[in-house]
Symmetry: C2
Subunit: 203 residues, 2 copies
Amino acid sequence: MASAEFWYEFASTYSYPAALRVAALAAERGVSLVWRPFLLGPIFVAHGWRDSPFNIYPAKGRYMWRDLERTCGAMGVPLKRPEPFPQPSLLAARVALALDGDARSDFSHRVFVAEFGQGLPIGDRATLGALLTPCGVDPAAALARAESEANKARLKAECAHAVEIGIIGAPCLVTADGEVFWGNDRLEQGLDWAADRSLGAIR
Amino acid sequence: MASAEFWYEFASTYSYPAALRVAALAAERGVSLVWRPFLLGPIFVAHGWRDSPFNIYPAKGRYMWRDLERTCGAMGVPLKRPEPFPQPSLLAARVALALDGDARSDFSHRVFVAEFGQGLPIGDRATLGALLTPCGVDPAAALARAESEANKARLKAECAHAVEIGIIGAPCLVTADGEVFWGNDRLEQGLDWAADRSLGAIR
């Protein structure tokens, strides 16, 4: 079966519509997905940025929010800008990484809806706890696993790996043959690539 | 009739596939197009960039060239990286602005094909002259008009106007109601918007 990795960052605006779309798009193409949370912070710091580029370059920020409004409008999903932007995403990323399979994708989906659909603060333990329960996960246990030294180190390694494979932003779709497709607007192309290459391997 | 503006920069890589696609996409939707050449330089300088961001941030540059290879591959058009990159685009932009209607779009299309399809140096007067002749334009006369003080001032005003309406990169599709759609990957969305809004106005 064809597979692809979906790399996402909870503070990333375009990761929101991508997280809402990617599972159905992958299923349509028979591509199995691995959800890989990571942090853009280390990549931005390497660029000399200490904040979101959408804040550093206000004209880019204005464009992005309007573009995202149009994208969400076309999808029929709400958009509410969280304050502050970007939201602190470290804890959410650690929690997501500490979960497996469906629990990870379910939780991640809920975090994005809370953050950008409802404008809730996703840096709060209480917010994250409330999102874990409907995933069938015990919040206290998940938070404890998330904050273990092993899991913290694992997230650091994930971020280093992202840089190594050429990830420069979020979201990204990464195929088994190492192609990186950056952006919510590249999901279809990346998943088509994953599906086509897999067929090619079988023939 | 619905209309939209196509803003492009000759040094911009993604303006190449966009310039090759936009006329047919607009015609399919019954949208009339105005081709508006401009320069990204002043916008980049305002960001503190003295070079293409694809050179300043090498990982971004590597991603962009691979992404563009895939885009051009899917379109079945050649891609040859011009050296140096970015190419000096000032003279080509002045010439395009000094032309009208079909001559402007025809010339612009030829410049992009020469630059990114064949890797030719588009800063050269000889290259531009050779591209003007098949457009039915006298090269010497066009170059003289391009370098008149009035035309130079007009290009400066175009760049200032681009910033005012929220253009942050190239290419952009700008609709009559002031929406800006940035990127080769937003052409369809921008032209759909232009066509829909126009129908709304007629009803």
